[in-house]
């Protein structure tokens, strides 16, 4: 709710002058870089490598392993608008999340390992999104444009859970734990935009 009010405030304060500025015509190049203060929700199941048909445990990173529900993400985006109705966009978003010395409250099977109740574990989940798309404006006027886009996104997830090396504390979680799983997948993109 607070975040919704924050966004509404931003739109109210900056929206009118931004629209007025748009009357002079859109920019050809736009680069944005900054932070995203995100709420997370996740459900992860990594099956055994020896038998991918045997289901492991569905794990909520936040509820079962105690990951923070909020985290900061970094992003950068660039857009080029051509003289016709074309535009190109590339974007990169990344976040690294982990938890050290979490106590397992129910038996969890993650990849090839089972962690019993009371086990202390280190876990991490890193995600990266690399996007590129081509857009075509159906309507383009000095005040704005509306169109559709197609492209490719590359999703990269790395995650792992392992017994804690030091049950007495510590905050560093190695990305080289034995239970690693890495997924990289290109995904076709279709979208719309209004600007």
């Amino acid at each position: 709710m607070r975040k919704g009010l924050f966004v509404l405030t931003i739109l109210t304060v900056f929206g009118a002058p931004a629209v007025a500025r748009a009357q002079s015509g859109p920019d050809t190049w736009v680069f944005r870089a900054g932070g995203l203060w995100a709420d997370f929700g996740s459900d992860v199941r990594i099956d055994a490598t020896t038998n991918r048909n045997s289901s492991s445990t569905d794990v909520s990173l936040e509820t079962d392993l105690g990951f923070d529900k909020t985290n900061q993400m970094f992003f950068v985006e660039g857009r080029w608008r051509g003289q016709g109705k074309s535009r190109l966009r590339v974007a990169y978003t990344s976040v690294s999340r982990d938890v050290a010395n979490a106590v397992v409250h129910r038996t969890i099977t993650f990849r090839d390992k089972t962690f019993d109740v009371g086990s202390h574990v280190d876990a991490y989940f890193d995600s990266k999104y690399i996007e590129g798309d081509y857009g075509l404006a159906f309507v383009r006027k000095p005040s704005g444009e509306f169109g559709a886009s197609v492209g490719v996104s590359v999703l990269k997830y790395q995650t792992g859970v392992n017994l804690s090396v030091n049950v007495n504390g510590g905050s560093t979680v190695s990305r080289d734990v034995a239970g690693n799983e890495e997924i990289t997948a290109p995904v076709p993109v279709a979208g719309i935009f209004v600007e």
Binding site: I10, R32, A38, F40, Y157, I192
Partner: protein
């Protein structure tokens, strides 16, 4: 002010997944080409597989406000 939405659906071998993301934001120029911006961003990913690149299932959602710097020029 800008609004974007994109949805992705892919089936590659034994892997299937989809991603939806949306953003609503405003850019404001301060000096010359330099400005600031704010947006609200939403992203949800769901992926399932039985082999490579994924054996298992991932549903991953994140959303929240963005604050950023902008450089824009003609």
């Amino acid at each position: 002010m800008y609004v974007t939405w994109s949805g992705k659906l892919c089936v590659i071998g034994v892997f299937s997944g989809n991603v939806s993301e949306a953003a609503l934001g405003v850019d404001y120029k301060l000096v010359g080409p330099v400005g600031i911006g704010g947006a609200y961003y939403y992203n949800i990913t769901s992926a399932t597989g039985k082999g490579t690149p994924l054996g298992g299932h991932i549903t991953y959602r994140f959303n929240g406000p963005q604050v950023y710097g902008v450089i824009a020029f003609k």
